[in-house]
């Protein structure tokens, strides 16, 4: 085939550009994940408090983030904030902010679920051994919760990596957008480029997410 689309990948700096795009994707999502996990753990603990005010607050936050499509949140953070307050957040900062807010809410709910799944007798036994509340938490509850959280957290992390493809709509050129640019710039000469470019992007996403899930598997085995 004279116009085989695979050639597009080796034109100029195309392949390098795809890798740069992947780096943008990974940078945004990993910063957001690294921030979301501790914040989410705190938020999850906050959610389990019995106080009705904190309960309502956390419920409202969670539902707000969950109901709003991430795209809307991105537009609010990038354009809305500038319109309303005149604060000019950079696109990448807005993206990290939105994904951290989202990750914190989701992670918080996971942590809450893991915490309340610890049977009550674990608390009672700790109390019977004379442990204080703080000791119970640190030595009994947290280690058990951690183990339950790993698969859920990995799931959330890979989901966040994939959802960052939305940031193209606030002008960040990440891997998927680079792919579209390449397809478009070559659509006259290489109409079949789309298949190859998307194929490579598929492989890149896989390479990005796979080490994370194998790391999780290792951790799970070690903490069994």
């Amino acid at each position: 085939m004279p116009d085989s689309g695979i050639n597009v990948l080796f034109l100029g700096k195309n392949f390098l550009r795809l890798l740069e795009g992947l780096w943008v994707t990974m940078r945004i999502s990993l910063i957001a994940v690294i921030l979301s996990i501790p914040l989410g753990i705190l938020f999850g603990m906050f959610m389990t408090l019995k106080n009705p005010i904190t309960r309502t607050l956390s419920r409202v936050y969670l539902e707000f983030i969950r109901i709003m499509p991430q795209l809307v949140l991105l537009f609010i953070a990038y354009f809305g904030v500038t319109r309303a307050f005149g604060w000019n957040l950079s696109a990448e900062l807005s993206a990290v902010l939105v994904f951290t807010l989202w990750g914190t809410a989701e992670m918080g709910d996971l942590v809450r679920g893991a915490l309340i799944s610890i049977p009550k007798h674990q608390y009672d036994s700790a109390a019977a051994l004379g442990m204080t509340k703080a000791q119970t938490f640190v030595f009994i509850i947290v280690p058990q919760t951690m183990r339950r959280l790993i698969p859920l957290t990995i799931n959330l992390t890979t989901r966040m990596i994939k959802t960052t493809s939305l940031v193209v709509l606030i002008g960040i050129t990440e891997v998927l957008k680079v792919g579209k640019q390449i397809i478009d710039a070559n659509r006259f000469d290489y109409p079949t480029a789309a298949l190859w470019v998307y194929g490579v992007i598929f492989a890149l996403y896989f390479l990005a997410c796979w080490p994370i899930s194998s790391l999780a598997k290792k951790l799970e085995q070690r903490w069994r």
């Binding site: 501790p38 354009f79 005149g86 990448e92 900062l93 397809i183 006259f188």
Partner: protein, 301 residues
């Protein structure tokens, strides 16, 4: 033994916490060196409320003009294999920067977010095949036009659509935020619209047969049909002749006046015909007449 284990975990947790603090500090310094340059705007005293544009002098002082262009809409605005912006709009943008005596920074925009970019001052000028409409004119200030277009409809040869009436009850692909979307919504409510965010997606949808036809500016579909055998532009001039012009934020009169003067002056040297020859002619070939697209000096006859 058990205790030692927990201690290890505690150390691990502390390390993670420290790492996070480190990354937070790193994050704080990030905006300064990211691609987005418009932080300068928030420093200017006009940054309160909506008015966050940079005046002509502020742009010249900063040494950089920020222009929003398409990055996946060849031949108007696209990125070549070396990562450089190219196209009809970009050719003009380069000239603007040259005449302003500043460097140019491109921001990649999508059809639906163009108004927002300029209304929030994230870019100084939008040069992204931006068709002048009344609705948009309420939100942005348009300079003089540098191109004119009508709508076109492209469809597969084996089910060619040659009149708008044939579209009734069929699925028409459009890109969100384009004039085609509003035109069909307003005038032909019986046409079922299938909307996409990006051009690349819309073309793939047409190629895959997810819709019966695709409508956008006639220049765009003519160019696409030429390089995609099996597809023909059955309707090549639909709706009113629209003009395409640069846009700046509402009230940014210094920049607007400068742009208007620039476009008038460039008319004298037939700049946009040269632009057409350099960027559009290789793509359109014989399919289009430059005078039916190019507007010189901002004057539409």
């Amino acid at each position: 033994m058990k205790k030692k284990n927990t201690l290890r975990k505690l150390i691990a947790v502390t390390t993670i916490a420290l790492l996070i603090l480190g990354s937070l500090a790193g994050c704080g310094s990030e905006p300064a060196d990211t691609e987005n340059p418009t932080e300068i705007a928030s420093i200017s005293p006009t940054a309160v409320s909506n008015a966050s544009f940079r005046t002509l002098d502020e742009i010249k002082e900063s040494g950089k003009v920020v222009i929003g262009v398409f990055s996946d809409k060849a031949p108007f605005g696209y990125v070549d294999e070396n990562g450089e912006y190219q196209g009809y709009d970009v050719y003009f943008a380069e000239r603007i920067a040259q005449d302003l005596g500043v460097a140019v920074e491109y921001v990649s925009t999508d059809p639906a977010s163009r108004v927002e970019y300029v209304a929030t001052g994230k870019v100084d000028i939008i040069l992204a095949n931006f068709t002048v409409t009344e609705e948009r004119a309420q939100q942005v200030d348009f300079a003089l036009p540098y191109m004119k277009v009508m709508l076109g409809v492209v469809s597969p040869d084996d089910a060619l659509i040659t009149s708008v009436e044939e579209l009734n009850g069929k699925t028409l692909i459009v890109v969100k935020g384009t004039t085609a979307e509003t035109f069909f919504e307003k005038n032909y409510p019986d046409v079922e619209l299938q909307k996409y965010d990006e051009y690349a997606d819309a073309y793939n949808a047409l190629l895959d047969g997810r819709g019966d036809a695709f409508s956008t500016d006639n220049t765009e579909v003519l160019a696409w049909a030429l390089s995609n055998p099996g597809f023909t532009v059955g309707i090549d001039a639909l709706g009113n002749a629209d003009t395409i012009a640069p846009a700046v934020q509402k009230g940014n009169t210094t920049l607007l006046d400068w742009l208007n003067g620039e476009i008038e002056a460039l008319g004298g040297e037939n700049f946009f015909h040269a632009d057409y020859e350099a960027t559009l002619a290789p793509v359109y070939g014989e399919a289009a007449d430059p005078d039916s697209l190019v507007v010189e000096g901002g004057i539409v006859e």
